[in-house]
Amino acid sequence: GGPASPKVEGDTIILGAAVSLTGKYSTNGKNTQDGYELGVKRINEMGGVRVGGKYYKIKVIYYDDESTPARGAQLAERLINQDGVKFMLGPYSSGLTKAIAPVTEKYRIPMVEGNGADRALFTQGYKYMFAVLSTSDQYLREAMNLAAEQAQKQGKDPKTLKVAMAFENDPFSMDVRDGVLEDVKRLGMKIVIDDKLPPEINDMAATLTKVKAVKPDILVVSGHARGATMAVRQVSDMKVDVPMLAVTHCDSAKVAETLGKAAEYALCASQWDRSLSYKDRWFGMAEEYAKVFEKEFRYDPPYQAAESTAALLVFVDAFERAGSFDIEKVREAIAATDLMTFYGPVKFDATGKNIAKPMVLYQVQDGKYKVVAPTKWAAAKLIHPIPPWSKR
């Protein structure tokens, strides 16, 4: 394999990333790349990373993995072998991360990622992979808790609640499902629908017909940006009445903006929100990050972008603490991270996942994403149950 020392050209340290610029994840892949780029720009504007008394600029080499795992793995090989990259940023999605992690692990290349949340990533004994985000099982747990809470408030036993699940059949959503399943078990609820959506699906009519028939109390859906749009749109088209609809990725899918009334009352799981009061020395408050991002890329930063920026910040922090680009030293520094960022606190456990940061849950209210849980951050009150279509 390539050069023995980390790739530093002049005063620039080079990182590598395979991201999905084309293919089914390309929306979020673009978010990821934008997140990295904003971080790079900001750090470089602020003078760069100070390592061993010298300031270094940062540069990231990108490749397009086309949203396919096999390509992702090959590109990781290429980044490491041909481009001599020694520090990797993660790709978008759990599936791609799963494909790339064995490669970085094999070469002992540290990778900090912000978009692979499947828990299976953290059971492989990987020592060089670190994730700044909450694991995917966390995404909809808050929603399940809310449902139970609300049931109790209305004097109902949470055990009577019926849950309908529709999850895309990919590593990420399957882990979201596992999280929901665990909570369902814990809370004693009943599963009435358990559909797995194939990745290329364009129509959910069959599942939603079933939902109409069995009248669940909660409908949970996860399928990246497309799944979110499809679910919200078709629930409205088919006039499916459910008291609670919880979805992942609806902010990056811009459901509130594009689907208008149809999106109203939907609950959205998010890793991060601009209204949170996290703060760091690079961007300041979350809100300030959001503004810089908007100015640069002309859209609202979804959490996928924030996560990605945060992953870069972890590297920056680790370089500075390690005081060198020695791979092992940097790895150790990353492992010892205890950092507050605009995105939230970052602290890794032995398996490499961030245990310090909670998830948030939005509800679309009046066309805006309002944080409704956890209570600590709540900006609005949850509206529950969702009024039936006949009353809207």
């Binding site: 610029l21 692990e105 990745p199």
Partner: protein, 352 residues
Amino acid sequence: MTDTTRNVLLYALIGLTGLLAPSLAPAFRIQMALLWMMILFALTWDLGGGQMGYNSFGNVLFFGIGCYAPAVVQRELFFAVEGQPQATGDLATISPAFNYFNGFALGLTLAVIIAVAVAAGLGSGILGLRGQYFAICTLGVGVAAGEIASGWDYIGAGSGMVAPIFPGHPSQAALFFYYLFFVLAVICFFTLKRLYASRFGLAINAIRDDEDKAEAMGVHTTRYKAIAWCVSAFFLALAGGAFGHLNNFIDREVAFPGITFGVWMVLMAILGGKGTLWGPVIGATIFHVTQELFWTYLLGWQRVALGVLIVVIVVFFPLGIMGWLREQWPEKFGETVDLEARAAPVSLGEGR
């Protein structure tokens, strides 16, 4: 004699390049390994699609079986890493080389057995179909297999599964897989070369040109078709097994890549000139190299460039490169008319 010497020289040159390549360009080992895989893809597709006229869109089925089988064997016999949350620890110590290679070899054997059995089983049903019916059926089988794999928990369902990491330095792994693919492709090439030179080759060509006529002439069409299909399955399963272990991560998309590898097989064979032995080899090489270049230099636009390239090539070389060459210099391909020559007098009934 000169022809043979030229051929021997050519083979020697290619063989030598193949053998030395990994040392000449160590950073490109994986890409070169995949080049051999692409060649193998194109060759096996061409066996059915080009030589026999049975255009399959479902050959990824065998590749997928090949991907999964060794990984499952590894997991069941030696490495309890995948999908078991309790099995953590240092990968280096739980992947002893002996187990790894044993499991791999066993897995490849199993993959081949399953793939060939599936080919034979399916073949008896769908090889009776002709033309587009065959094509759509193979497509259906390929898609269905992918969907089933992604619903089957034993092989990780939608979450996929992880093959054990190669025991040893990554550069050794690259070397190992390089030579594995190299040898596979070479064996595949010579097997097909031999097959095409035999009655088998004539028979599948006849099936391609006019199956009704072949039947009417009493050719055992079903038997030949089944064999061709099984030979494809055999090599694809091996390629799949190697690729699964090279890639480490296996899920539906890796194992049943219908719209990438599945289509590329066809593309490469046609690009080089289907129905010829060298066409797929040339097509695969050109395709793979340009694709890698596009990836490197045309970030984000690489697929557009690829699409344009395909269109341009098809428009200007509709018969593929070999076909084009053949049209330009038919005499070099043995298409000669010798007006002077005469055959020896025939003795009927002595022919065989």
